[in-house]
């Protein structure tokens, strides 16, 4: 691309170019850079948007067994009314409600933020799997939360019943050392990746305690929306 037209010629041999010349040069460069950036932003925006949506959609369909349609809901809990809680509901082809995928976020990972979705079947009070969406953990160490089979198994069929008040979990999630688990609500850590495991469980704990009661509150709404 040709930029020289927009840039006033300045005698480079003159070391003390006037302030005006400097301002003009910087202004012109910033102008060109702005144009370039907005062009690229426009060009890639829809791709990035589809990428993000596609990632969430495929994850939701994967996490809620049997689902082919995904719908997004936003609820607010009374305890933290400022934070919107996104609930992705999964339906089969005839529109029957099957389950939901919920977001869990924790900032305490080794590389900062960890974001994951987990599938939850409200009628069975069960978590049926997780999928990590955003993970900046160290490759080969912390990012085992994505691949470690033993760790994934914790969440494959995790019973998370609510207590009688329907406001809290009967057994809040708890991280235990590898090989020491088995109790209700207990998650076994990956040995050697304690920080990342802790972050995952903290995110899940926060999310389950707030969103699971919410899902049960709005269960009727979720079931009707599919029809």
């Amino acid at each position: 691309m040709s930029v020289s037209e927009t840039t006033p010629p300045v005698d480079q041999k003159k070391d003390n170019a006037g302030s005006l010349a400097m301002l003009r040069t910087l202004g012109a460069i910033s102008f060109v850079s702005g144009i370039l950036l907005s062009v690229v932003y426009q060009a890639t925006f829809s791709r990035i948007q589809t990428n993000t949506e596609e990632r969430i959609r495929s994850t939701v369909l994967e996490l809620v067994p049997g689902s082919v349609i995904q719908k997004e809901f936003t609820f607010f809990s009374e305890a933290s009314p400022d934070v919107p809680r996104t609930v992705y509901a999964g339906y089969d082809a005839s529109g029957t409600f099957l389950g939901v995928a919920l977001e869990a976020i924790d900032l305490g990972g080794y590389g900062g933020e960890i974001k994951l979705l987990y599938g939850y079947i409200p009628d069975e009070h069960k978590i049926v799997g997780t999928k990590v969406l955003l993970c900046k953990e160290t490759p080969g160490l912390g990012d085992k939360i994505k691949t470690d089979e033993h760790f994934q198994k914790n969440f494959e069929s995790l019973s998370v019943p609510l207590d009688d008040s329907r406001q809290h979990l009967l057994y809040p999630l708890k991280l235990v050392k590898a090989g020491a688990g088995g109790g209700p609500g207990q998650i076994e850590a990956i040995s050697g990746a304690t920080i990342s495991s802790t972050a995952v469980v903290n995110g899940m704990k926060e999310s389950t305690e707030v969103v699971l009661p919410l899902v049960h509150q709005h269960l009727q709404e979720l079931k009707e929306q599919g029809k």
Partner: protein
Amino acid sequence: MSTEARPLIIGSSPHIRVKQSVPDIMFHVALALLPVAAFAVWSFGLSALLLLLTTTAACVATEHTACLIARRSTTIRDWSVVVTGLILGLTLPPSTPLWMAVLGSIFGVSVTKSLFGGLGYNCFNPALVGRAFLQIAFPIPLTTWTPPDLPGRFSSLLPTTLTFPFLRADTAALADYIRTALASGGVDGWSGATPLSMWKFAEVPQFESLPRLFLGSIAGSTGETATWLIILCGLYLIARNMMNWRIPAGMLLGAFLLSGAFWLSDKTHYPSPMFMLFSGGLMFGALFMASDMVASPMTSAGVWIYGFFIGMVTVIIRIFGALPEGVMFAILLGNAVSPLITSATQPRTYGLVRQKRWIKQ
């Protein structure tokens, strides 16, 4: 005022001084480590013996090879590398696979000592650098502990000791082995924890009794358990004027004061200062590792600051860190700041006015 009582003796040169050479001191340090090593073998058996022999041999071999590569006469006869090897072996858990011990020896001696020019140029304690490398490289085998006085420890090796090089240490087999051995002695349970990790990671902090800590019938690294023996051996070196007593004194004082302050604030959460001093590697670190002559400051005031600093950092890491033990990293940090301490505590030259800036070397 009686000037006669303490006459000032002035002799003309040449002055004859007691000969105390580096090989001499290092030899005595190695000698003082032998009882500690013997206790380690007695409480952890054949595996500990093999571990100590391996680290010592590997350290000596590394130094010799490095001297050959650099085309210098070998320096293994000054005993310092033997001390390094013994200390490294004594700071590792008894079940450490031998190939890891060899790797740690090679790394510690070559990177910290040989590359910088040999004894006197190492800014860190080589044994501790090797230990730190292993701790970060292989966190699981290096935090797997074995109970002391296991039945059958003199007739068989722990299953992880002879792990094939570069393969994973089978900690599950080790746990089985320990359970069977303990059952044969009539003991059922074994938590796999050292006194420090029982305090830090148990849901309700548990404090091991002081007599057991002092006598050494606890789990831990091979050489750090018998506090009484470590103190005795250290006192021997201090009595022979081969160790600067201010370093361990400063370190123990620092750890005692800081952990005492925490203890007074909450006695159910924080262990007593005596527990802090007698548990883990603090005593061994104070007497045999922090006192490393090369990596510690050179002024008397600086040595106090250095010891005090290490003691406090140890307590801070133990209480707030991710790991239950912090002596190793505290001493390495102390090594790192010791040149700064030396230059900041330079004594004033007689007759000069103190200058208000750092003295340039």
